[in-house]
Symmetry: C2
Subunit: 432 residues, 2 copies
């Protein structure tokens, strides 16, 4: 098909009328579909029925180290859970704390702790005039919401195909002592699906921060969330890379089993240096009586080890793959060559990132909503919900059953076309 | 027996030698017993084996309101869990958030939130020069540790048989705007076993705080933890009392099932006014993706309702009662009339509070330790671990099997006697 921009004004007007009628027809159908959040589907959740029988009947509740997991204790998690999550993160269990059910909560608490108490003895961030975080964009809305809540100034860093623009990252981190952190989703990034290249990771590890309490918030949320057996991104392990580069304390790694077992009922873990860990332990011993060790036991006994997890993830992939392929096929067939959008084609993770013509994202998402399809809000992938180009939309294809996803894509594609043609007409009129 | 203080110096010296030999003999036995923390015993934990089969096999995971508890969502807890915990707290489910596994963590986060963000729009406490908390003493060490970590100044308020000295509480709260909170364990208090009288609760509810962001931290940890069917303390419900007195927002209630089901794997809940709740929701929506709803479902399906919980607590009481009665019998028979100690006789909760002669608590706990019996550290029941009289010791009789408890009491009683006789000799010598 011809790019929209090459159509004449009368062709465009005719096209708009046709699309508008289709859209009115679509609205009349009273759809109610949701592509907003990265939720596993019911089909994925149904796979784990055996998980609930793990501690029943006649189970032992005694950990490897002889602790009764039904009682108080084990602040940093039982050893076998630290080992399991350590394997998942490709680091030693000595570097792991297993927390509760939400890695977001672990990240929030990590920022919160730095605000009130500082980082390993540094000045508490709440006592400083300015605290800044770098935010690779587009990125994860919930990361940005945390730093926004704490009044931390956020600086956009454009993403490339290899990760964040490292020239910019180095410029800020190495020169500005107010820059205390950077949010990263280094593998199958949210929403772009980008995995940081080896060079990017090495440049991260080699940073020379102006602030001694600068930390990389490395949210490896999708570390084992591949869609394919034969096409998998590889990511250099950052803790080791930082240690090699002489920056052993510079990174916090986060991960969880929210999308391995159950969102809200999985395990979340932090991986970091011994020094950071010791400091964090000294704080959380006041904060909590410890994590849910019975849920840790369930996870360890269910998976045995990281290999068990990886096998399990193949079953998730089998359910998710057709959904991602459907998105690619439909976008390719119906928007390819029109010059009105670009999109990512990730081999893992939970999202497809879509870029409309500049200035169209809000309109598209609004149109979708009016036609009964809820998308992630336009702008959500940027700090302060402000996408300067108003072009990025996060597509979350995992939750709806495939037939519903197909219907939601009908709406989305139509809305992209309609909003684009209107935009182009507007611009042509303006330029006349 | 004659009070030690009435013995002659030579009688005392003789007694000391006898006790010292017994103590040396005791040390030689190489005991290893623990009466330090309020842990349920293995026997209590074993009662709940059926709990683990609750979601297995062929269970529904759909909440009353139609949500799949295996997926994200329900930030404040599923409705049936809010109802259950609301019944436990004697308040409406509209006033309840069900959190994770640790009420201590909920309290910590409540203080932390106030530090960084303020209370319902007030100035964040970290921006103030001074923040003070009132601490009824003796009290719960983990409460004091939280306020100490945040650099909050703690003021001792003596406990009476009816609760904290309310003249002092009123004086501080109603006049000093730096006083932002008070830690309370209002029922079967830790460690004294005191339940606040009706008058105490009404005086709390009628406070006229100088600070608009003053809050009562009402940790009702032992609300259904009775030892007897026929002897139970009653506590006025504070949320209702505050609302009646025109102070609807003045209190946070905390409770958990840590000592109902499992420490570390129970449910923790917060009960408070709608205004406080709305504010807290607006913060935690950034902090977490939500609580473990599957564990909420387990609890609700296991107990059905608060009546089910209360029935269940009778089984705990049957295990704990003989332990508390053993403590009373042994202390009464062997220390009664000696004038070297007083102790509480609670009808619920997890502790017995023991007061030695002034200046003896540290010595007693140290002697116990050297003889292989770990007690809660002397001083722990006071802010900054400083017991001005060095006299209070918390006895935690719940965890050891009864035969071990008996042996631990051998040691404890002997150490009280020995430390007391030494103290009296020292004083007599000093006064000569």
């Amino acid at each position: 098909m011809k790019p929209y921009s090459e159509l004449t004004k009368s062709e465009l007007t005719e096209l708009e009328q046709k699309l508008f009628l289709q859209y009115e027809d679509m609205k009349a159908r009273g759809l109610k579909l949701n592509m907003a959040r990265g939720l596993p589907s019911a089909e994925q959740l149904d796979m784990e029925a055996d998980f609930f029988g793990i501690l029943y009947p006649d189970s032992s509740f005694i950990s490897e180290e002889g602790k009764d997991c039904r009682n108080y204790g084990e602040l940093t998690g039982i050893h076998e859970a630290r080992r399991l999550m350590g394997e998942m993160m490709e680091i030693s269990d000595d570097n792991v704390i297993v927390f509760g059910n939400s890695s977001l909560n672990v990240m929030y608490d990590t920022v919160s702790r730095s605000m009130i108490l500082g980082v390993c003895g540094s000045t508490p961030w709440c006592k400083l005039d300015r605290v800044k975080f770098l935010c690779p964009v587009p990125g994860y809305d919930r990361h940005f919401a945390i730093t926004e809540q704490f009044g931390i100034e956020m600086i956009n860093i454009p993403m490339t195909d290899e990760g964040p623009d490292m020239d910019l990252v180095e410029k800020y981190v190495n020169s500005d002592p107010a820059v205390k952190g950077i949010w990263c989703v280094p593998k199958y990034s949210n929403p772009g699906g980008v995995t940081y290249s080896d060079e990017t990771v090495r440049r991260f590890a080699a940073l020379k921060p102006a602030a001694e309490d600068f930390r990389i918030f490395w949210d490896n949320a999708y570390c084992i969330h591949h869609l394919y057996e034969d096409k998998q991104d590889k990511l250099i392990e950052i803790l080791g890379a930082c240690a090699e580069a002489g920056n052993p304390d510079m990174v916090y790694k986060f991960c969880s089993t929210s999308k391995v077992t159950f969102p809200g009922s999985g395990l979340a873990a932090l991986g970091t240096s011994k020094r950071n860990l010791d400091y964090i332990k000294s704080v959380i011993t006041i904060q909590t009586i410890g994590p849910d060790k019975l849920n840790q036991l369930r996870h360890v006994r269910y998976f045995k080890n990281a290999e068990g997890m990886r096998e399990h993830m193949k079953k998730h992939a089998a359910i998710l793959r057709p959904k991602f392929e459907l998105v690619q096929r439909r976008l390719g067939e119906e928007l390819g060559g029109l010059g009105i959008g670009t999109w990512s084609n990730p081999v893992g993770g939970y999202f497809v990132s879509f870029n409309t013509l500049d200035g169209c994202a809000k309109t598209v998402v609004g149109m979708c909503k009016d036609a009964g399809v809820t998308m992630t809000g336009a702008g959500a992938t940027y700090p302060y919900k402000k996408d300067p180009a108003d072009s990025n939309i996060r597509i979350a294809p995992t939750f709806p059953p495939i037939a519903e996803l197909d219907k939601a894509l009908d709406v989305f594609i139509l809305c992209v076309k309609l909003a684009s043609v209107q935009k182009i007409i507007e611009e042509k009129t303006h330029n006349e």
